[in-house]
């Protein structure tokens, strides 16, 4: 089991590191997606099926598309074809500063949190239990999130569906 965890960790961290090191933005984006898939594998390893599949559906299926479309649509320099500009000292310093700040925040969060000793029996992780927990304790929040997302979806559809360009032969 530990061996599998090490493999997954190497995949996750390796693809994340390669995503940062590569010069080609699309390759970086695809490796980032691989890293997300590694996170899903880690959830599977930990026995959290539902979260793992949700992770793949949301990150690998949906957010990956947003990232890829964003990369393609914001690409300005046709000649340099997605090459990142050469690193300067200022860039390196600012990157290291941001990275160090983030590492400090996360390290302090990890160090200051107290982990309870694991329960003797593994908690039940079947989907029904997750659903009941969500609905009973967080029912209102779930409802509000659902309504907001549905309204956003309908609003986006209404905004995007312009009638101006329709002509007579556009019958759906």
């Amino acid at each position: 089991m530990t061996f599998a965890l090490i493999l997954i960790a190497v995949l996750m961290l390796g693809s994340a590191a390669a995503a940062m090191l590569l010069r080609n933005l699309i390759h970086s984006a695809l490796l980032l997606i691989l890293s997300w898939a590694g996170v899903a594998m880690f959830y599977l390893w930990a026995g959290a099926e539902f979260v793992a599949f949700a992770q793949i559906l949301v990150y690998v299926g949906a957010i990956s598309m947003v990232v890829l479309f964003a990369v393609l649509l914001t690409r300005q320099n046709q000649v340099a074809d997605m090459l990142i500009e050469p690193a300067t000292r200022l860039r390196a310093i600012s990157a290291f500063t941001v990275g160090a700040c983030l590492a400090a925040v996360m390290a302090s969060a990890i160090l200051s949190s107290h982990f309870r000793p694991p329960a003797a029996a593994a908690p039940a992780t079947d989907v029904k239990q997750i659903g009941l927990d969500l609905m009973q304790h967080h029912g209102a929040a779930l409802l509000i999130v659902g309504v907001i997302l549905t309204v956003a979806l309908l609003g986006a559809t209404v905004l995007a569906a312009t009638e101006a360009k329709r002509n007579r032969e556009d019958t759906p």
């Binding site: 695809l30 099926e49 539902f50 599949f53 299926g61 990956s64 029904k128 549905t150 759906p172």
Partner: protein, 414 residues
């Protein structure tokens, strides 16, 4: 009678054969063989199913277009054999000839292409479309992996196809391939939503994400011949229709085959693919279609359940396959009948018509669950209200969206 049918030898046969084969091996290898046999079984059955789907499609399309379809390929003469089967076998060996042709063709990769991604795209698309078969209950006892979150798994495995299409389009280093990949993605993303929303009512009513339990919930018959399949409820019928349209679009089938419209674009994002890589994409498309049809059968058409009580003696996996073949033939029929849509018509149909209807259908299913204790004459009210919730918006929205545009008039050149 039900218990007798459930325990008949034919029901248990596939599992018993597998266990017999597994027990032949030493204990450390048994776990591995158990899963390998399952994988090989799925690959063999659906590989052959794919092969004969292509020949059935070509023959049926031929009949629909008043021609014969492939009927020439027989069995080749092997020089070592003393006899030769001269019969053409109705052209049923055509898929094997096609496979050999695809394997021996030159594999052309554009010089500027991204070789790794160009190679990975067809591999990923086939691998993930095969993974979706893992959670389909093919029979009473036959399900490759019995997951608690099976439905979520099915859609998660299908999500990787979009990535593969992007990789295919981008790595070809051809601007038309990239544009076509964007069109294909727009279509897939648009129809992913109605597809998933059309399935939510089933989850609401069955109260589970497990495909196995969903099929079990559709068991039993009223009077012994009226099956309790979900399609025979107002929300189920509406959901099934939305599912059918979305499944057609998700699997790039006519009338939604614009990503690779053969007659207008040269296969869209697959322009730079040839030989066996193209065949892999082709295969993945059929696997996707078969898996989605299997999901439709599982969710709406009762899965492996027999339509009447007295037909239970036929093994459950044969019922599943019969329903699956029915769905595939229906899809081929649609392909031979309907005309291709334009991209704006396609996305408009998804966002303005199917998504609102699917959302209403979820409310409908909620109503159905809340009124499940109604009985007697109230049962009629329940059916009428549920039917009204889907039919009235369908008519109103259909009328208002086509107002001023329909019925369509055709003008011919003088």
């Amino acid at each position: 009678m039900i218990i007798a049918a459930a325990n008949s030898y034919l029901e248990r046969a596939p599992l018993e054969w597998r266990d017999w084969a597994v027990n032949l091996l030493p204990v450390p290898l048994q776990w591995l063989t158990h899963h390998l046999i399952t994988i090989v079984g799925v690959l063999a059955v659906f590989g052959l199913f794919f092969a004969f789907t292509t020949v059935a499609e070509r023959k049926l399309l031929g009949r629909l277009q008043n021609r014969l379809g492939p009927n020439r390929s027989g069995v080749p003469k092997f020089s070592i054999l003393p006899w030769h089967l001269k019969h053409k076998l109705f052209g049923l060996t055509q898929p094997f000839a096609d496979a050999i042709k695809a394997l021996t063709k030159e594999d052309i990769v554009p010089a500027a292409a991204d070789h790794v991604l160009h190679f990975l795209a067809p591999v990923i698309v086939v691998a993930f479309s095969l993974m979706t078969f893992a959670v389909l209950p093919f029979g009473r006892n036959i399900i490759p992996v019995d997951l608690d979150a099976a439905l979520l798994y099915f859609f998660a495995a299908g999500a990787a196809t979009e990535l593969a299409i992007f990789m295919a389009g981008w790595s070809s280093r051809n601007k038309y391939s990239l544009l076509a990949a964007m069109r294909a993605l727009a279509q897939l993303i648009s129809y992913e939503l109605p597809l998933i929303l059309s399935v939510v009512p089933i989850v609401l009513v069955a109260g589970t994400l497990s495909t196995k339990t969903i099929v079990v919930n559709q068991g039993f018959w009223t009077f012994g011949f009226l099956p309790h399949w979900f399609i025979f409820t107002p929300w189920g019928a509406a959901g099934f229709l939305i599912f059918l349209v979305a499944a057609l679009a998700e699997s790039n089938r006519s009338p939604f085959d614009l990503p690779e419209a053969e007659s207008e674009l040269i296969a869209g994002h697959l322009t730079e693919y040839s030989g066996f890589k193209y065949a892999l994409f082709f295969m993945a498309e059929y696997f996707g279609l078969t898996a989605l049809s299997g999901l439709g059968v599982t969710l709406f058409l009762g899965g492996w359940q027999a339509p009447c009580a007295f037909l239970e003696f036929i093994p459950s996996y044969l019922w599943f396959m019969m329903k699956l073949v029915g769905m595939i033939v229906f899809f081929i029929w649609v392909r031979g009948t309907l005309l291709r849509l334009r991209i704006d018509q396609l996305t408009r149909l998804a966002w303005q018509f199917l998504v609102p209807l699917a959302l209403l259908n979820i409310a409908n299913a909620a109503f159905w669950v809340l009124t499940s204790h109604w009985s007697g004459p109230l049962q009629l009210v329940r059916w009428a209200v549920s039917l009204a919730i889907v039919v009235i918006p369908f008519l109103v929205m259909g009328r208002s969206l086509t107002a001023g545009y329909a019925p369509r008039t055709y003008r011919y050149a003088p």
